[in-house]
Symmetry: C2
Subunit: 391 residues, 2 copies
Amino acid sequence: MKIENVEFHYLANDTILDIGDGSQDALLVHVRMDDGSEGWGECEAAPLVSIAAWCCPMSHLACKPLKATVIGFEINGPADIYALTDRVRRNSFDLLQADHTLSGIDIALWDMLGKKRGEPVWNLLGYANAYPKTAYASQLFGDTPQQTYEKAVQSREAGFRAAKFGWGPFGLGSPETDIDHVRAAREGLGPDLALMIDAGTVWVHDVARAAAVLPALREAKAVWLEEPFTSGALKAYAALAQQDGCARLLAAGEGSHDPDMAFNLMDFGKLGFIQIDTGRIGGISSAKKVAEYAEKTGVVYVNHTFTTSLALSASIQPFAGLKDSPWCEFPVESAPPSRLLTKERLLPDANGQIRLPDAPGLGVDINPDTIARYGRQVSIQYENQMLWSSK
Amino acid sequence: MKIENVEFHYLANDTILDIGDGSQDALLVHVRMDDGSEGWGECEAAPLVSIAAWCCPMSHLACKPLKATVIGFEINGPADIYALTDRVRRNSFDLLQADHTLSGIDIALWDMLGKKRGEPVWNLLGYANAYPKTAYASQLFGDTPQQTYEKAVQSREAGFRAAKFGWGPFGLGSPETDIDHVRAAREGLGPDLALMIDAGTVWVHDVARAAAVLPALREAKAVWLEEPFTSGALKAYAALAQQDGCARLLAAGEGSHDPDMAFNLMDFGKLGFIQIDTGRIGGISSAKKVAEYAEKTGVVYVNHTFTTSLALSASIQPFAGLKDSPWCEFPVESAPPSRLLTKERLLPDANGQIRLPDAPGLGVDINPDTIARYGRQVSIQYENQMLWSSK
């Protein structure tokens, strides 16, 4: 069967706030094959730019819009979906945004194939089991240590077994303030919950500044320290990983927009945890390659996701069968277009664990009312041609 | 003074061919300050997508359109231009295409500042001299070894002292065919001209396949082997660099869209040559950081460029003062919108060398007739707002 049509739905909240909350908008991808099979996917961040990467005019042989490669491509099994990734990367390698657009299309194709065959995606990927993952409540630090403490208490009372705090004031002031926040988080969670800390790339390349918080992280028994540096700062990651008690403590990778970037973080940045956003790395096909490499090299794979239940399901599928990768990011503060996208939400169970649906494809159903309510109209015109217009 | 307006001009040839020729379109950037100062820059590849990155709605705190950061930003000297790069990267780090758009804006700001102060950009960058660079005629392999031979003869007869052949059939068939092309190129150039070979990432991660052509490269005294693998395949680069006679032979880097990617290729990929496209890495500010690092670590810096004299000037400025980085890419097969953009073209002199103009800014003047002739109309609408419309 051939890919006949790809539709993009740009959802956005009525007001977009200038805060670190990626759930305020979403770019949904709806793929339809020539035999009527359908699937849904989602691209991470900047919906309008990813639509432009779909429909823009060709610049040259290696800078084509995605539609030039995708429409008409024959998909009859998993190998064809992997092959599409290679073809898109070859045809669009000078088009930087292409990896985001590809991500949503690839996810939608896996969903489509799973639905067509009546199998969950993790099964198509070759996993016999989908292990439950312990959800960590992923949230921003409070503005003050007291607020961080209160958020931690809320996470514990909500039944989570793990929580991650990031961004907000962390890393911007003195190490002492950071340490106060880490201690407040641990105090609020109590001794038994797992605690993760996310520095949000705040120290760029500054190894010494990052090292200043290490004793507090050890004291608080943090599971990991995430993104002390920018995604590509491999030398800084390697230097920090060599510090006392820092082996296998570092986590990063959400910025990876192809598998090579993730491989490099593992090989040269000496990570303990590799965090992959399926909506950015090129979709499930690319994420699965990273999961295989992580398993081979003893690195723990973690999903990165901050939007919908569709994106959450897609982000877990690539490592569903890896028993030694037990954590799962779960966004607790999500805005309406993301929260309301699917008919049922993927939520932690009484043990604080997320279980992937044992249902065809990604196992979630899209709520058309949410598309109608939050869908935004986009049109892109070039000369006298309408390149894109939302239906 | 503050940045008051940024105008984008999307130039494209009447027909865009499906060939490896990046000069068929161009995205020009025209920056105007509130005191009337002006400058011009250029972004590499996919003009429409880069315009979308300028004007799209915000997704969240770290995914803002470039206009949100750029308009109103205060620029009074070089340090402010560097600071703008940091600010854009912080505000738009989830917007993948942002680096391309930033590139053109950054270049235009250096041009503007140079013109305002009556100094060439290389001077503003701290260089006392702009050393002439030996231009290598950058071109595609012929379809057959005979055609490659003829192209090499033409390059020699045109007065070039160096030539690079890339893409086309190279690497796609057997190693023997590749070797025939390399020998034909050397034969056509004669014994005295420098020869560079560009594999255009064709072997992805396959070290053994790349190694199969090494003896022929040694025999032909190739100066470098460029991009045997995809930009991020650091382990493969490192493995090939360890082969006999391969130390300091590898060249790569054109895909780098931030300085970290280039640093990683030098530190971990063990390159001999780092090739930077100023229109992609984030502009002159980011390219200059790579040039400084290359000088410090003994790697030869080379520009990557395939479009206009404006882009060529911008691509040489960051390493103008590095005496030990003597080569300069010069596209010999350029299409009208690129060839005709500037009133005078930057061409090799009788010694086959390119000299940067000792003139304010980038030292080239834009031809308004070319914009009028090849400028294309783009409009982008979101809900009831016109986000972008070409003037």
